[in-house]
Amino acid sequence: MEKAQFTSPWLPYLLLAPQMIIIAIFFLWPAAEAIRASFFLEDPFFGTATFVGLQNYSDAFAASDYQRTAWFTFVFVVLVSLISLGIGMMLAVSADRVLRGKGSYKTLLMWVYAIAPPVAGLIGVMLFDQHIGPLVEFVAYFGWDLQVGVDYWDTGFAMIVVATWKQVPYCFIFFLSGLQSIPTSVKEASAIDCRSETRRFWTITFPLLAPTTFFLLILNITYAMFETFGMIDQIVKDQPGNSPVTLVYKVFRDGFRGNDIGGSSAQSVILMILVLALTVAQFRLIERRIHYT
């Protein structure tokens, strides 16, 4: 690669400044503020703050409510990430095989991605509505009395379905371009070497998609943990008390509905550490086994 020399020593910093300022204002500062707040018990009405040490953290871990939310978040993230990966890959492989009307399939499948999370939540609320929801009616045929907003895991089920539905197109787009980046001649060589198409998929296509899968896995986990906030808000709006929420939603609820700034900050610091650990683990453990061309 060619090495370019800047004429002024300040120019590179100037060019990096917008990004750095954004990171500082929207990440570093709030993060520092959260860490500070997590050690204090704050008066919700702008009064004094009392230093309480690690009290907020031990309170969070001890609360059965917190443990329950953590467990739900885990189930939610695992299912949403893996199911959307699986469906996205399946759709991409099928679309890749289609010869005619490829463009229309692609556009139709990608449309969903253009929907804003709260709108997806609204559509989800409607689909799972106790009185008019078509999905409620559908599962009733199989004897399932689905009660979103009443039953804890029924509500969780609805969230998982809506969150997955929203993420599938994203996975689809990336898998499709991943598939198309596999050289035709490699596919042809494998067609000469291996008769079974299923076997070809698992021995050639799937390993060559691994970088895409890994990338999407990280994005899906991030999505399921954080970006589903708006959708969850729509679904649990009426009765957040007994409904399952993710850890992020709980941070918001405890902080801004419950006015427990300190406790909420402690929870968000725990989340931050969790995400950090997760990312490091992913890169350490999984990336090593992936082949990048």
Binding site: P183, S185, V186, E188, A189, S190, A191, I192, D193, C194, R195, S196, R199, T203, I204, P207, L208, A210, H291, T293
Partner: protein, 347 residues
Amino acid sequence: MTTLRIRNAIKQYPNGAQAVKGVSVDVEDGELVVFVGPSGCGKSTLLRMVAGLEEVTDGEIELNGRVVNNLEPADRNIAMVFQNYALYPHMSVRKNLAYGLKNRGTPSDEIDRKVEEAGALLQISEFLDRKPSQLSGGQRQRVAMGRAIVRNPAIFLFDEPLSNLDAKLRNQMRLEIKKLQRRLDTAAIYVTHDQVEAMTLADRIVVLNNGMVEQIGTPTEVYSRPATTFVASFIGAPPMNLIPGELSKGQLHIGAHSMPMNSAHAGPVTFGFRPERAHMNGAASGLAVEIGVIEELGAHRLIHGRVGDHEVTVAQDAELPPPDGRMMLAFNEQDTHLFDPDTGARV
């Protein structure tokens, strides 16, 4: 025995365009047949039809006495070497070689033996545990060939396998491919657009143009008796000189010049001669040529000049004194070629 018979093969695309317009070729046991032609002549398509990567619209592909038109590529007992190697990037060289055998249920000790053998034969033994990305272009090409060899197929299909290599390596690999094919004594089809590769490798050359066969013959036949003006200008470097003329009563008239020609044909013809088969002298008879630019190539020189309005090139031994001004060209009878100016066919 005949390994492969292509009978009147036609490839037509859904939009009606024909890439291959009825080609028939036989490949005998142990024979190396080269398909050569300019890009878009249908040579690769024809090869891919044999491999089963392109559907055959009409005609028959018969391998070892069995029509394989509707067989999957994996069931055809062919092995193909691709232009860009097409190695599996996530597998080691060893696994690349073993993949086709493993999928055919070959016992693992036999796979190991064959992989080691091929590795030794191609001098890639020391790279067996590397990934393709850690190999040079020439080494990758060897692995691609190894993948074909271990399978022990009825026929090898080479699709421009040397195009991605630099000139020096290409000459070296060309020779190796030929030696290897002789040693394995397996029939092979080799597709190339490079006429030097075609001439040096082939037992027989199939010259294709526009989806049709122009000529099938040994390199010598194709070179010394080209069937059409297309073959004449495609095979040989620099290409054959082609000049329009008129034949009457055993005399060939070109512009104001004429020379005796032992042919009963009469009327307009295209006269052809190879640059290296013309004798240049100062005599009074023959074909007059105005000398233009001269290129010295060391062992010989290329003399560019004009016969009437037509550019011609003549090759000459560099030890002869360089010509100047106006010279005469003389030819041996067997080195002159006459073609029909309308059809391009030899007369």
